[in-house]
């Protein structure tokens, strides 16, 4: 046990560096995913047939295939079409596109729950469709989505692990490097597991705080009709 402790302390700087990259990837992916997911959901709910088809195609494709396959397709596959991207950019794209498809689903549920009635109310005072969406529907739908959506940051954090396979120097990559140096794969991956646990725990605490701080009094998150 004390061996493991010594081991852990020795490699802590490396692990933290890796954890930093992991967090960076997570935040980038989350933000990109949010924008993409929002656009996709709006296209799907309020767009013309063409945009709807595009959105559904995007969502189905990225939810219906593994992240790892998407990553390889972008990093190894695109060069075949003449598009070569750096490993960092590839990872960012893969994580962002993947997360966006899942976030689109979370937002869709909330928008549908708020949707029709509030749209009627907005239009009835002369607001245009898009004004209503921006000023009336989204503010409510986004808040409603928070509890379900807060699964996504943690999920994304965990899924960043696979990008080490294209040599992005995040936490898993550090684990592999340490394992190679110490010939102790179990020890190094256990150490990394602990770091992930810590990150997940902290992230979860932050999310719960956000959830509590953003509650609208009297507005339950069970999709009650407004």
């Amino acid at each position: 046990m004390s061996d493991f402790y010594a081991f852990f302390v020795r490699f802590l700087p490396d692990l933290l560096k890796g954890a930093g990259i992991t967090l960076l990837l997570t935040v980038q992916g989350l933000v990109a995913g949010f924008v993409l997911g929002l656009l996709a959901t709006l296209a799907r709910t309020y767009g013309s047939k063409f945009w709807r088809g595009l959105a559904v195609g995007y969502i189905e494709l990225f939810r219906g295939t593994p992240l790892l396959v998407q990553l390889f397709l972008i990093y190894y596959g695109l060069p075949g079409l003449g598009i070569t991207l750096s490993r960092e950019l590839s990872a960012f794209l893969a994580l962002g596109l993947n997360s966006g498809a899942y976030q689109a689903e979370y937002l869709r549920g909330s928008i549908l729950a708020i949707g029709d009635n509030q749209m009627m109310a907005g239009r009835s005072i002369g607001m245009s469709k898009w004004k209503t969406i921006w000023y009336v529907i989204l503010p409510q739908a986004l808040r409603l989505a928070i509890p379900a959506w807060s699964n996504e940051p943690v999920s994304l954090l965990k899924s960043t692990g696979v990008v080490f396979l294209i040599a992005v120097p995040e936490l898993m990559a550090k684990a592999k490097a340490i394992a190679a140096r110490t010939y102790d794969p179990i020890g190094s991956y256990l150490a990394v597991a602990l770091v992930y646990l810590a990150m997940v725990y902290l992230l979860d605490a932050v999310l719960r705080w956000i959830e509590r701080a953003s509650r609208i009094p009297g507005f339950e998150s069970e999709g009650k009709k407004a």
Partner: protein, 212 residues
């Protein structure tokens, strides 16, 4: 061209095999843990809760590696079996949460009614609670099933010759990386689609009739 086709399709068989090992293993183990958590005493409840928290707080790939090195080191399992069982262990934690939710949704009233009839706790769980809980669990479970199917791609990292690994080799031999990886994506897409449709069908068929 056709030999390449068969090559990658063989990988599909392995992908399916990995899923068919991991998913049922995760179900049995997850069901056990869910029952222990819901009906066990205080101590067992805490143990089950810890199990769930630990296994769900770590990326599947990390657990895959840890379990792989432990399993292949001590019992000398092949990468296929070590990888599949590891995925099963990871899935069991998520399935435990799904089944727990279903058990709670069935409700205490059903247990009370069963006990009032003279059934023992075990009989009540077996004949009254589980049949209803398992039905309730199908929609979230089908979500988990497609997740396990997608996560099976992780065994790539252990060298198992499933779809992705073969796509990589194809990409090298044919110098057509986009086609190779695109084919892999297509295969996964079809598999996930089939699983979702299949389980939707099961969900429809096992639904309990209500007022017309």
């Amino acid at each position: 061209m056709s030999s390449f086709f068969t090559y990658i399709v063989q990988g599909t068989a392995i992908t399916i095999a990995v899923t068919l090992v991991a998913l049922p293993f995760g179900l049995i183990w997850g069901l056990l843990m869910a029952l222990v958590h819901t009906y066990g005493g205080k101590l067992l409840n805490r143990v089950a809760a810890a199990y769930s928290l630990l296994l769900r707080g770590v990326p599947p790939i990390v657990l895959l590696f840890i379990l792989y090195f432990i399993l292949s080191g001590s019992i000398n399992l092949s990468p296929f079996w070590a990888g599949s069982l590891s995925l099963g262990i990871v899935s069991s934690a998520y399935q435990m949460e799904i089944l727990r939710g279903a058990l709670l949704a069935v409700g205490g009233g059903q247990m009370t009614a069963a006990r009032a009839l003279g059934m023992s706790r075990l009989q009540s769980i077996q004949y009254i609670i589980l049949p209803q809980a398992l039905r309730l669990a199908i929609p979230p479970w089908s979500n988990e099933a497609s997740i396990v199917l997608k996560d099976s791609s992780l065994v790539y990292a252990l060298g198992v010759p499933e779809v992705l690994r073969r796509a990589q080799q194809l990409s090298a031999t044919t110098q057509q990386p986009f086609l190779a990886y695109g084919a892999a994506a297509l295969i996964y897409f079809v598999l996930v689609f089939a699983v979702n449709r299949g389980l939707d069908y099961v969900s429809e068929r096992t639904k309990l009739p209500t007022h017309p």
